[in-house]
């Protein structure tokens, strides 16, 4: 896998510090529906959201590309899971921690992530 990547030039609000809240992710954390809430409402007994495996694969790929090594990611998950994202269930917490870490490391910018979230939502709603 290629390790070639350039940190985004646009500084996210995460530049205030690696543990500072990021508005975009805070909005999702507060308003987002976790699998633990959604599944029983739809009568689904599957314990994990369908995107969980994909999230793990993204983590593995980032590690294989030496962009975000396993140990650094897990440390960030621990720190953020006990602070900012404490109280959010495991798969959603891991996702928020990954997005948070990628933003604070400049791998993504908050603006482009917000834009892509909007695009993805529009696409899913239309399908």
């Amino acid at each position: 896998m290629s390790a070639q990547h350039r940190p985004s030039s646009a500084a996210p609000t995460a530049s205030q510090g690696p543990k500072a809240p990021i508005r975009l992710l805070e909005d999702i954390r507060r308003a987002g529906k976790t699998w633990a809430e959604l599944a029983p409402r739809w009568g689904v007994s599957e314990p994990d959201p369908p995107w969980k495996t994909s999230l793990h694969a993204t983590c593995e790929c980032l590690s294989a590309a030496a962009v975000l090594p396993v140990l650094e990611r897990r440390r960030a998950e621990d720190e953020l899971g006990e602070t900012l994202y404490c109280g959010t269930p495991a798969p959603e917490q891991q996702l928020l921690a990954l997005a948070h870490t990628m933003l604070t490391r400049g791998l993504l910018s908050e603006e482009e992530l917000a834009r892509r979230i909007k695009e993805v939502r529009t696409r899913l709603v239309a399908s």
């Binding site: 990547h5 529906k33 599944a39 739809w42 959201p49 994909s54 996702l95 892509r116």
Partner: protein, 249 residues
Amino acid sequence: MQSQHDHDHAHDANAAHRAAPMVDEISDFEVLEIAVRELAIEKGLFTADEHRRFTEWAESIGPAAGSRLVAKAWTDPAFKARLLADAVAACREIGLDWAEPTGTGTPSDYMEFRVLEDTPNLHHVIVCTLCSCYPRPVLGHSPYWYRSPNYRRRLVRWPRQVLAEFGLQLPPEVEIRVEDSNQKHRFMVLPMRPPGTEGWTEEQLAEIVTRDCMIGVALPRPDRKADDPRPVQPARRPVESTSANRAAG
């Protein structure tokens, strides 16, 4: 060719074949996962095919391979000796290759794997105090509690108490050895074969070797299989209903 209409009726005629319920609602978390992945691919951090390969691999793993290793070791002393001597090589004998899915394994699963044999006086249990290292090729994905700081921090300090919280109370004469996994080493417990399983086939034995037995927080029992229904026990001292919660109900 069968029409969609007829097809649906055919399904309705047999309720057992109806599709399982699904969450028909888009969640912000689902959208976030897709957005992060797509941007990472567009930036060239990895390719869509690499991501697919990891996903395919991750969805194919589970504790069944570990159960087979244990059952085979219980019935074949020569295999057990090979398993204890070189576990990665022994895994290949049951068709499990630690080099999957890339040819050199995954970044999270280094190809150093050792099997820890329990004896009447020694019980093993595994943990990863640093993060969440786990023998995924043989046990699948780690349970949430294995990753929790609560388990990781307390097991090394108070193993006997933590095991008791799982319902495993070991006599004081049994030594408990906690093996700390790390980035380079993975471990799995080879529990003792329980009495009452004499004459069982390898397949029968594998059914009672649950994931938790191979982590070391439980012992195999002839009356307990991995797919047994969860026991439901009535409360011994049920909370008396009050006039307030009766009204609320």
